[in-house]
Amino acid sequence: MTTATETETATAASKPAGKPIAAGAGGRARRLLGAAFAALVGLFLLAPVLVTIASSLTTTSYVTFPPKGLTLHWYAELLNRPEFLDSFLLSIGVAAGAAVVSTALGLAAGLAIHRYPFPGKSVLDRLFSSAFAVPTIVLGIGLLQWYAQLGMASSPLTLLLAHLVLTVPYTVRLVLAGLAGLDRSAELAAAGLGAKAPQVFWHVTLPAVRGPLIAGAFFALITSFDDLTIALFVVTTDMQTLPVRIFNYLQYNYDPTVTAVGTVMVLFAAVAVVIIERVVGVAHLFGADPEH
């Protein structure tokens, strides 16, 4: 009897307190569910890269995951294939060129759009945003026919020029965002403090777009380096960029050499991403506590 009463009192007492606990448990369950879902999506997003990296280390002569044993044999194998090295050098050269040129063009065009009136400015602005939307395959075939019309033979230069269409809109956009964050009166203040026009640009304007410029340059670098669709139309069999080389290799081969090349490309992209992240971070932290 006493036990029953005790249980009753215990239940009665726990009831009001029970509710928030239940809600807390529900909240925790929901948070866990959310985290599990996010982890799944993350796995989905990263899986292909992780698999590529892992299977490049396999000792088997065919691609398999998980890899059987661990070896760097396939990376050594790469050195015996000069065509991959040539392609890598071509790709990196074109990418570096595209990065430098599109950064310069992006800075100039961004400045022009941001602060000078000129005829056709709004058209230019709109073209920069629509250049993202045109399918690269259509652009590729268009460039193929246009270059033929102009009688321009395939060369690293034609490829670089083609890549500018992909990269310049991004650098312009980044520069514009940087300039939008610049207080125009800071430039007037600098002039008022005795700075000549080039000094104003160097000390005030350029620092405001430095982050966007570096991020834009590295974005252009990997966009050009990774591009396949445009390159497929613009290159010849003698001049193949690394993605084109892999794409063609894949048609006939299925060995871990490709995963080794892929891993090299991923590492290359990762370096660029870290730099972009750093720079954008620096831009975000402009004026923030250095101790943080």
């Binding site: 698999v51 009136p117 400015k121 268009g142 497929l232 993605p243």
Partner: protein, 307 residues
Amino acid sequence: MAATARVADGTALSPDGSAPTPGVPKPVRKRGPWRTGLLLASPAIAVLALLFIAPLFMLVYNSFRTQAGDPTLHNYTRFLGDSFYRDVLWHTLWIGALTTLGCLVVGYPFAVYLRGRSPRARNYLSLVLLSPLLISMVTRAYGWLVLLGPKGPIADGFHALGLDAPKMLYNDTAVVVGMVHVMLAYMVLPLMGSLDRIDPALAPAAKGLGASGWTCFWRITVPLSLPGMLAGSLIVFSLTVSSFVTPAILGGPTVKLMPYFVYTEATSNLNWPYAAAIGFVLIVVTTILTAVYARLLRGRGGKEVFA
């Protein structure tokens, strides 16, 4: 004739103070007001004109020519008159629709999840989200070849459970999985943008009026994030139907979409006018479809959401 003019305190009176205008007029340069701008923009204008607009005009022009260069409509009548190519077009649009749907189903909860995270966590998750766009599409597609292959880890999983693994490679499934993987960021980023714009006081306000969590989600969060959904869907759809590499690698010989024919006509058959026509049909159909979609969604979402 006396009147009392009542003027409030200076602060309230002047609209000047309430709207802190930058107030600094741009210095007007007397000579050539637009010369500097044009000079600075000219290299970029040249790039766009010579490498973007001119090739596209070239393409449209060539699509109305025979291979010998005579004017013709044959390229279009050939495409539209052939049920094989019409099926290719439908198949392409179908893959585009499935990918868009897939991105919405995966991306919406992900965007909602990101919304509640700390800026730091958001930053890292965004990096993961963007990673497929930052690595070579060849590497990416190759990874899926391994994952979805008959001896891949997913098939192994089925076998471990004593089941027959379904065919996962060289079919629509493989293409859609590969495309959702790349396109997810294009869906999630605009969604995050419109979710961020929702006044955080709305949900507590609705709950205070008696709405449950779900009602709140369906009646407030979803309608207010329609602009993001719209923008995301449009980008994902248009980019998917014009993708070449991922479908070519993961679709194998059975899944042949519009971009594949653009490529083969241009490079293998060397029929440039026909390749141009297929490319142009793709652009036109995509433009029409996205316009219709935008209008439909706009009608449902109500004007105020898009105002």
